[in-house]
Every structure is written in structure tokens, then in C-alpha cells.
């Protein structure tokens, strides 16, 4: 990786990473990947988020679903940990709470594969600042 040499460089870089992330998130192309984010702060990990993440990856492989699983920080829903955010191509992200291994299977089989909503969706109770 080359160093970012100027503010302009940094702006260009932002546009390019944004574009590639957007491509993944906004496209409604059916071949586009499903994105799964697991809340992996200390609190999440303590309730088993690590195992859930591993199981998610393993189950997706097993069920031959192409999805990108990444970790993220605390979503704030301590009462409902572990929490997982799933973004289906072209749809708004949904956060599911109280995720167990059984729930992971259900999420893949029903929500990811068929788009059927499941219990324990956590409504987004906040707005986020958009800097620029």
C-alpha cells in the first residue's frame, strides 16, 4: 500500500473505497453477495459472538450460500447480544438479536435464502450523523 500523500489523495481514496463498498451493498444484482456483520465488541464476544461468527461462516459454506461475514464494533443492544446485521442485496440492513446457532441456521434458510422475516429483529432506534 502506498502512503496517502495529500488531502486530495485521501479524498480520491475515500471515493474508491466507498464505491467498492457501495457496489456490494446497494446493487440489486442477484449475484451480489449477502453481507453479514457480527457485533464483536467485548460484550458481544462474552455472550458468544465469536462462536456465532464462526458458525455463521461454517453454516454458509455448508449451505453453499455466498456471503461476506465481517466483524464490527458494539451496536449498542447489550440486552440482545449476540447481535448480527444482515444486508441482503438491494435491501435495508436488518439487525437480529439473541442469535443462537439454531437461529443462524434459520436466518440462512429463511431470511437469507428466501427473504422471510424472522422474530427478534431489532429496530434501529437512532439516527447517525453523516459528516459530509
Amino acid at each position: 500500500m502506498n502512503k496517502v500523500k495529500s488531502l486530495d489523495d485521501l479524498r480520491k481514496m475515500r471515493e474508491s473505497v466507498r464505491a467498492s463498498l457501495d457496489l456490494r451493498e446497494k446493487s440489486d444484482h442477484p449475484d451480489q453477495m449477502v453481507q453479514v456483520k457480527v457485533s464483536m465488541a467485548t460484550c458481544g464476544i462474552a455472550t458468544g459472538a465469536k462462536e456465532i461468527m464462526n458458525y455463521f461462516i461454517e453454516a454458509l459454506n455448508r449451505k453453499k450460500v455466498d456471503a461476506l461475514v465481517t466483524q464490527t464494533g458494539c451496536m449498542g443492544y447489550c440486552y440482545a447480544e449476540p447481535t448480527v446485521e444482515i444486508t441482503l442485496p438491494g435491501k435495508d440492513p436488518l439487525v437480529f438479536g439473541y442469535v443462537t446457532k439454531a437461529k443462524v441456521d434459520e436466518l440462512i434458510d429463511k431470511y437469507i435464502k428466501e427473504g422471510i422475516l424472522l422474530d427478534d429483529i431489532l429496530p434501529i432506534t437512532y439516527t447517525v450523523v453523516k459528516p459530509e
Partner: protein, 588 residues
Amino acid sequence: MCCGTGCRASQSEQIIANLQEILLQKELQEEVQVVRTGCFGFCEKGPVIKIVPDNTFYTEVKPEDAELIVQEHLIKGRKVDRLLYLNPETQEHEPDSKHITFYKKQYRIALRNCGFINPENIDEYIARDGYLALGKAITEMTPEGVIQEITASGLRGRGGGGFPTGVKWNFTCKVEATQKYVVCNADEGDPGAFMDRSILEGDPHSVLEAMAINGYCTGASKGLIYIRAEYPLAIERLKIAIAQAEEYGLLGEHILGTDFSFDIELRYGAGAFVCGEETALIHSMEGLRGEATLKPPFPSERGYNGFPTNVNNVETYANIPVILLKGADWFQQIGTEKSKGTKVFALAGKVNNVGLIEVPMGTTLREVIFGIGGGIKDGKRFKAVQTGGPSGGCLTDKHLDRPIDYDNLIQAGSMMGSGGMIVMDEDDCMVAMAKFYLDFTVEESCGKCSPCRIGNKRLYEILDRITKGRGTLDDLDNLRNLGSVIKDTALCGLGQTSPNPVLSTLDNFMEEYEAHIIDHKCPAGQCKALLSYVIDPYKCTGCTLCARNCPANAITGERKIPHVIDTKLCIKCGVCMEKCRFGAITVQ
């Protein structure tokens, strides 16, 4: 259908059942799906139903409304006006929740990236405007200009004291020195608080970026993050973040081709609460005993290794990049007159939705506890909320509608603190609560000054006596007098605030203290020593189960004859009550 505890209590399950039944009748079960969701944080208007994809938001729904919703909305496509949320300001029904935020009481600035980006990937931070503020500062602004912007924004220290951040930066900026330091105070120590940890774990780059901006403003080329060693994940992610930023040249020599160079190192603390106090923190980093020293001199004059040092807390730093990008005017508009922006709280205790929240200053405690927090667990009665951790005080229902900001909380006998917020219900004894916090302070005092070292110990001992039924009315005077003297004479912030839990409970819950002392009763039923376990002879069948399980052999009685508890032997463990299958044992 919201199935948070609040809505569940107001029959949301019944509504679901009704909905499903009607859908089945109308043979719509394939087209319409009823899903239980977590709490919307809108419990006062519950039960709440949201219909997607048109984002209709129905409030105060009753089970009998199920048919109407299916019939009118789902079949005919007509929104049920009566159930739509009535905006109290406009007196209009809000038909669509997509772009309205009436139930979204949280506003995330410091937490803007937490839970969105992968904290171990700098690209995701950059995609969300990361390091742009630093770039803007060092290429387009003067240090004075940046400080001016921060000062104008009204940002105040989020670590507890609430000192204006820009003013602090200016102090360090103005001192002439060959070396200066920027320190991030990540020694989060309040019991139950984890705001800083979450930011560092979820968005480490925002803190690094802000520290670099601070370095640019104050003329420091070195940043130090003092973080407790008990935060291994935060440390790990910070290390990764620092390495990535260095790789990108966003930390290190000649950042973005300018003359500004800045690097950051981690320093580990052993988790002493007092090391959150900036002078103690600096001593700890110097390898000395973690003890506070008298200010002045302030760290901005003589800090780390004798050099001018700017110390800010994690959350304060996390606000900085956004302020620079969006401007002081924008930030100014959020919050109250003297407290701008938002505050992150770790909401804990007896609320349904414990969690990490960020609300604009000026949000009321009621909105936080009964809105976002989803109300009190198990439908119990709200009693008090402790803000500011061991340094804060408890606030009661008379404070619920008070907007949260620095000055209001202090006026109410508590303080903002770093953002711990612990909610207590009717089962919590306020004397025991004060004792809990004093126990913490006694444990965490560095011991340097007499009032804190001995005074807090004595406060604790008095409280301990009271919770054991051995208190006297003189103790109440002593608590108050001693508490105020400790506040008045202790050396550092820890000692000066440590009596707050006692003083505020004395102010707000005197009757509970008196009940312990005069009646030898703990109204909340929490103080073990004041409880007595009694066997109801009419209910007791003489099954001997309690006697066999009693670890203190305090229960005697013959088979099939009612048993008796010897209160002198009873250690009040409660095992007998748990074991009794006839509900014959009660606590009095």
C-alpha cells in the same frame, strides 16, 4: 410487532395472536408475515406495530385493533388514522416512519461508526470520511483556527468534569516547550461503564485521528493512549489501527505531505480507578505510583515527564473529527444552552434494554429510561438512577423530566461523570447502594489524602452499621457532616465526589435510612441482616426439606409437624425459602 418488555406487558402477544388468526381467516398468511421485533424504545406509546414496506407506524394498538389493521390497511390499503402516531408538536398523525425520527431518541455522533464498520479495516473508516478532518485541519486550517472551531462548538470534556475542550487545548497550545504530549485517557473505571471501550473497539481510528488533530493544534508530536490492560480487545484493535494508519502515512512523519508529524503509542494501566484522574494518570505513565497531585500546575503546563500535556477522554476525541467536518455551528445546534452535542451512556441496571446509547444533551431521564431503556424490568416501580458512577449521585422520579446536561445534573446533586447510568427499582435499597459505591471508593482510593483515605472508610463503616441494623440517629448527622467535609477537603476529584452517593441518598431517601435505624427494617428487603425468615405453621407440612438443606442448622422440627427457624442461627441465605414446596417460608 414490538415485543419489547413494555409492549409485551401491554398485550402485544395477544395482538399477534389476533393478527395471525385474522390473517388465517382471510387466507393472507402467505402474503403477510407477523414478526416479533425488539424494543423500539417507544414504550410509552406501546404496543407498537410497524408495517413494511410502507413504514406505517401504529402506536397504542389494542388486541381488538387487529381486525381493523388487517381489514383497512392490509386489504384495502388505507392507513388507520386513529392508530398513527400523533406528533405532539404538529398535532398531526405521522403516516410514515421511514424518514421521521420521532421514536429515534438517539443521535449517534461519537458512536457514528460503532457497529457499522469493521474496526480492523481502515478502508471502511476512510469510506465514512475518516481522516478527512485531519487532512482538512493540517492542510487548510491553522492550529488556532482549529482550536477556535472546537471552542466555538461548545464541546466539553466527556470524561466527567465537563471542562471546555477548546479552552483546554488552547492552554497547552500557548505554553512554550520543546516537547508536548497528547494523551488519551482510556482508563475507564466506573462500575458498569463501557462507553470508551466500545468506541475503541468499534471505531479506534476516530480517536487516533482526533489525537493527531490535537497534536497539530497544541504543537505536540507524540500521542499516548493510557488504556487499562483489562481491555485486551480494545488494545488489539488500537494496535491494528495504529499500524494501518502508519502504513497509510496518516500517522508518522510528514502526514499528507505536510510538515506535521505525529505518532501514537499505547501505555497500559493496571485498572486503578484513580488513574482516570489526569494527574494520577500521568504519574502512572511515568512509572510512579498512581496518585493525584495538587493542581495547579495543570498538565497543560507541566504534565508527562514535566512537559505540557493535553489529556482528553476517548469520547471527547471521538467527537472531534465530525465537528471539524460539519462545523461548530452544526454542533452548537445540538444539545442545551451550556452543554452541546450528545452524550454516550452505558445504560444498565433494572431497565429492560440495557445497552450503549447516545442521546443529545437535553434528553430527559424519562426518555432514556422509559423510552430507549424500555422501562423497568418486570414491571417494577422505578426508584432511582445513579449517574456519574461512584462520583455521582442518585436521581429520583422528581428528576425524571429534567433534561440531562452537565449543569442540571450537578444541580440535582449528581454529575454527568463519564456516562455510567444505573437504574434502580423498588427492590434496591438505597442505603445498600450508597454502601456499594463507598466500598468501591474505599477500594480505589489511592490513600494519599486523609479525608479520602480515612474519611471514606469511616463513611463506609457507618453505612455498613446501618445496613446491619446497628446504626444510630447520630450516624445520620455524622454521615452528612463527614460527607461534606470530605467533599470540601479531599485532594482530587475522586475524593471530592466520593460522598455524593451518600449525600444524595440522604437527601432523597432519608426515610429509608430512618427505617433501617429506627425500625430495623430494610424497606427494599435487600439488607440481609435486617431480614428474618419465618415459617408459616399453617402452610408448613413438616416435610423436613428446609431443615435438611439449611447450611446453618437453624431449622428444627419433627416430621409432619411445622418447623421453626432459630433466628439467632439463621444466616439468611434464603435456601429454605427456595427449597420449600409449599410457600410456607417468607421473609419479613
